[in-house]
């Protein structure tokens, strides 16, 4: 009986140990080791490095996925309801999100629009100046608003004559020229190509509008930055690497990213690069400009 009691004691200890270990394993299973981070994007040549990195599998290794939207406005909404962790957006979205209380910071600059944001019209500047009524089509809650403001100011147009029509870029792309209608459109690459084919002419772009800077960056909640600093550091390296590879071999990158850019022709793709400046390694000049518009740059990953 003594021996059997001893055996039972030993078995008991083993069972308790096994249960303990099982519970430990079960509880540890509930925690994710490598949390997925989602980044919201939309068709913009400046975001091509992100598309390229995804297609090359660079993002997969970091467990970062892309959510592709029609417009920045959609991206912002997704971010605001917590559906994505990061957003590729301009300073407009940055300030808009800050305004509604989001603790968001830019961690990596991507590009600066250097002609990529465009003002189109079916009329000339002079015709518009003399027009009684102008219909301005734009994504009001986007950088478009800053561009058109700058355009109006620069060309001294009468704000009261302009009727602002809020539309997303898909709706804008479908616009046709009308002789009886003075139309003003704010869009960006690659949506401009359809519009230009439809007869709209370019009146201005960010290349001409020196008063305004349009900077694209990866914005992220400060908590995410703290929690995933190492991952984001690697993400920044991937961005640098992708920009380098894209610019070095545009032909190859085109094949990978064209589907994210509404299947734009290669020629337009190649020309698009002339409309932006890569700012992944920002110059002092650009940083000063950002400072002037109160754009936080201290969290930028080097």
């Amino acid at each position: 009986m003594l021996v059997s009691s001893h055996i039972i004691g030993v078995v008991m200890k083993k069972i308790i140990f096994t249960i303990f270990i099982s519970l430990l394993i079960l509880s540890s299973c509930s925690k994710k080791e490598n949390t997925e981070l989602k980044i919201s994007t939309n068709p913009w040549i400046g975001y091509a490095p992100l598309f390229y990195a995804k297609e090359m599998g660079y993002l997969e290794t970091l467990n970062i996925s892309l959510i592709h939207n029609i417009s920045l406005s959609e991206s912002t909404k997704l971010y605001s309801i917590g559906k994505v962790d990061m957003i590729a957006a301009t300073q407009h979205e940055y300030f808009a999100l800050k305004e509604i209380g989001e603790d968001i910071v830019p961690i990596a600059l991507l590009d600066r629009s250097d002609g990529g944001d465009i003002v189109l019209s079916n009329k000339s500047i002079d015709q518009l100046k003399n027009a009684d009524q102008i219909f301005a089509y734009l994504e009001i809650d986007s950088i478009n608003i800053d561009i058109i403001k700058d355009f109006i100011k620069h060309h001294k147009l009468d704000m009261n004559k302009i009727e602002f029509i809020n539309a997303d870029q898909v709706q804008i792309t479908e616009l046709k020229t009308s002789k009886n209608k003075n139309m003003l459109i704010v869009t960006y690459v690659p949506y401009n190509y359809n519009l230009e084919e439809n007869g709209f002419i370019q009146l201005a772009s960010t290349k001409d509008l020196n008063q305004i800077i349009v900077i694209d960056a990866i914005l992220v909640n400060k908590k995410i930055l703290i929690t995933h600093r190492d991952k984001l550091q690697e993400f920044k390296s991937i961005i640098n690497k992708s920009i380098y590879e894209i610019t070095k071999n545009k032909q190859a990158s085109y094949k990978l990213v064209k589907k994210y850019l509404d299947n734009m022709p290669y020629k337009e793709y190649e020309e698009s690069f002339d409309l932006i400046k890569w700012e992944n390694i920002p110059s002092k000049e650009i940083l000063d400009k950002l400072k002037n518009i109160s754009y936080e740059s201290k969290y930028l990953i080097k």
């Binding site: 009986m1 003594l2 059997s4 009691s5 001893h6 039972i8 004691g9 078995v11 008991m12 069972i15 308790i16 249960i19 099982s22 519970l23 079960l26 509880s27 509930s30 909404k77 971010y79 605001s80 309801i81 917590g82 559906k83 509604i100 209380g101 989001e102 009001i140 809650d141 608003i145 058109i148 403001k149 704000m159 302009i162 602002f164 809020n166």
Partner: protein, 663 residues
């Protein structure tokens, strides 16, 4: 000390641990489900808010806000978790409120923004807010929406989940516990209890068990118990049986006789104890070796087993001693029948290799309760009777009688006296004169040993010499006699008795140990006139190993001793002895002298004296008690006589006095 724990307690503890762990897992599962549900509900809310926000930003006409009412009502009514919705303009004026929530106050200070829905706990949150962005030209302005959650619905939802999970958990755990308990009870506890009982009582072998390890233990126990039983039986046989014959040993015999006595006391049953001792068995071992001796013993065992009934007892006490107990004996006739069968069966020869042996035995019989009411007395008395049978010539049986007991007691008393006799001077040499018939002068004497009991006086040599021969005491006693006799001769050598010839008797036992005898005599006759020492031998000592005996006689003769043949005419008298052995004297046995008036005896005496004279051997007539006998002996020219006519054996001082008086 190891703390003991029963399987049941162990199982209960295990089940408790399973209960705890299952409870934990269920709780975790519940939390997980609750969390998933929370996320789904929050996503539902998010979806609705997003759609509402999008719808309002695109469709809210500030001048006619009622247009949005159907849409918003639809959102609220079709969603169980939304209790009410309120839309406030930039000045916090209500432009829409769900009609159902009349009591709802649009205090949204505790509401959280829609961007934090995912981080919130919908089950604890009362409401969410969202902004609706409008532009006046290019300047933005905001309305606010408040969505109030139906806390009753959410609480009920959680409550239902808890009840559902708890009920499922209880049913699950009870089912598991009962099933587990039944299984463990069936395949572990019950088999282990059976094993425990088997290990404790080792009687009924349990049937094979389902659990391999337990079955292994059962098989090992069964195997071990079988082996132990076998060893136990072997040990029992070893302790109760004689290994050579397979018969009961002394211990078992005593046990069984005790049982018979107990039974006999109740049922008034009688039984007989037969004590058997093989005759001359020692000679078998000495002559044919112990292997043959063992074969004979096994044969005897078989014979005894065959002749008795099944309920009789046969035992071997050791050596060549056997005991047969005849149970339920009604009369002596039954015993005699068995004795007869034993004798017939034993008389058949035993053959082994080239040897053949005809066994015989002496049997002593004691009867319960007549000859003893305990095992010791019964065995002792049967033994006494057996010795009596041996004394009476062997190959016979003897019933115990009380007189035998007295004989034995007498014998034991003599044995005890003899053991200390030499040291305590209980022995003394008496001297009986031998008289020259012609001169009527004492010319010789025979030294005769006497045992003197300090209490009762002289004990006859007939009583103690036989005992001394049986227990070999005759050897030291014989040495003492030789020493005493030779010393006496030395004493006499310077006295008037210097010409007296002294005879001493040598026993068969001494003669069998001839080397020692020779050395003893040789040692004691140093510086002695050996012609004065005579050795008397009886005819019986010469029967066995004659050649050996003849050698020692010749050696004694070579020492210068004379040899007398004692008790001539009795026993195995053979004239060839006179031819072969160089006797100096023959002594005619007293029985012839007693009956000398019988013509036949007179003829024998005449013939003996004539032969002796012819062979130049001296003749001494023993037991001469009257003058008529003496006259007859004188007439036939017999040289010497010995007997009460002259003197009975005398102590030394009386003998010397007798001799000196005649001088």
């Amino acid at each position: 000390m190891i703390k003991k724990l029963s399987i049941k307690s162990f199982t209960i503890i295990s089940m408790f641990l399973i209960f705890i762990s299952s409870g934990y897992l269920f709780y975790q599962s519940f939390l997980d489900t609750k969390n998933n549900t929370r996320v789904l509900l929050e996503e539902n809310i998010q979806f609705n808010i997003l759609n509402t926000k999008y719808y309002l930003e695109k469709n809210l006409n500030i001048e006619n806000p009622n247009r949005i009412k159907p849409y918003l009502n639809n959102i609220v009514y079709t969603n169980d978790i939304i209790k009410a919705m309120t839309i406030l303009d930039t000045k916090n004026n209500i432009i829409y409120q769900t009609t159902l929530s009349d009591d709802f106050k649009h205090d949204h200070t505790n509401c959280i923004g829609m961007s934090h829905i995912i981080d919130s706990n919908i089950f604890k949150q009362r409401c969410y807010t969202f902004s609706i962005k409008f532009f006046n030209k290019l300047e933005p302005y905001y309305y606010h929406g408040i969505i109030e959650l139906d806390s009753n619905y959410l609480n009920m939802f959680v409550k239902n989940k808890i009840i559902k999970y708890f009920s499922f958990f209880i049913i699950y755990i009870i089912t598991i516990m009962i099933t587990l308990w039944l299984i463990i009870n069936k395949v572990i506890i019950h088999p282990l209890e059976k094993l425990r009982q088997y290990a404790y009582y080792s009687t009924k072998i349990p049937r094979p068990f389902f659990i391999n390890e337990i079955e292994g233990i059962r098989y090992s126990l069964e195997f071990t118990f079988k082996r132990l039983k076998k060893e136990q039986d072997e040990l029992f046989n070893l302790s109760t049986r004689d290994p050579l014959s397979g018969l009961y040993n002394r211990l078992s015999l005593i046990e069984r006789i005790n049982w018979l006595i107990s039974k006999g006391k109740r049922a008034k049953n009688n039984f007989a104890v037969l004590f058997l001792d093989l005759d001359n068995f020692k000679n078998i071992n000495d002559s044919y070796g112990h292997n043959f001796g063992d074969i004979v013993l096994q044969h005897i065992s078989e014979v005894l087993l065959n002749v008795v009934r099944d309920n009789d007892i046969v035992a071997r006490l050791g050596g060549d001693e056997f005991v047969v107990v005849l149970t339920d004996v009604k009369n002596d006739k039954e015993i005699l029948s068995v004795l007869k069968r034993i004798k017939i069966e034993l008389s058949l020869p035993v053959t082994y290799e080239q040897y053949t042996y005809n066994a015989s035995c002496s049997i002593g019989i004691s009867l319960y309760p007549k000859d003893g009411n305990n095992v010791t007395d019964l065995l002792k008395n049967a033994d006494i009777a057996m010795y009596k049978a041996k004394d009476l010539g062997k190959n016979d049986f003897q019933f115990f009688e009380q007189t035998l007991q007295e004989e034995i007691q007498e014998r034991m008393k003599i044995q005890a006296l003899m053991i200390d006799g030499l040291e305590n001077h209980y022995f003394e040499l008496y001297y009986q004169p031998k008289v020259d018939i012609r001169t009527n002068k004492i010319v010789a004497c025979e030294a005769l040993v006497r045992l003197i009991d300090p209490k009762t006086g002289i004990i006859s040599p007939d009583k103690f010499i036989t005992i001394a021969e049986e227990n070999n005491f005759i050897i030291p006693l014989g040495d003492w006699i030789i020493e005493q006799a030779t010393n006496q001769l030395r004493i006499w050598s310077n006295t008037a008795l210097k010409d007296i010839k002294l005879s001493i008797n040598i026993s068969i036992v001494q003669l069998n140990n001839n080397a020692k005898l020779f050395e003893t005599i040789k040692y004691n006759i140093k510086d002695l006139d050996v012609s004065k020492l005579d050795i008397e031998l009886t005819e019986s000592v010469l029967i066995k190993d004659f050649d050996e005996k003849l050698k020692i006689i010749h050696k004694l003769k070579e020492l210068g001793l004379s040899i007398s043949l004692d008790d001539f005419g009795t026993g195995y008298s053979s004239l060839s002895y006179l031819k072969t052995i160089p006797f100096d004297t023959i002594k005619i046995d007293k029985s012839f002298i007693d009956d000398f008036e019988n013509s036949q005896d007179r003829s024998f005496i005449n013939m003996i004296v004539a032969i002796a004279n012819e062979l130049n051997i001296e003749v001494v007539a023993e037991g001469v008690e009257n003058k008529k006998q003496l006259e007859f002996l004188k007439d036939i020219k017999c040289q010497q006589y010995q007997g009460y006519l002259c003197s009975k054996p005398l102590p030394i001082h009386k003998f010397e006095k007798l001799f000196l008086n005649q001088v």
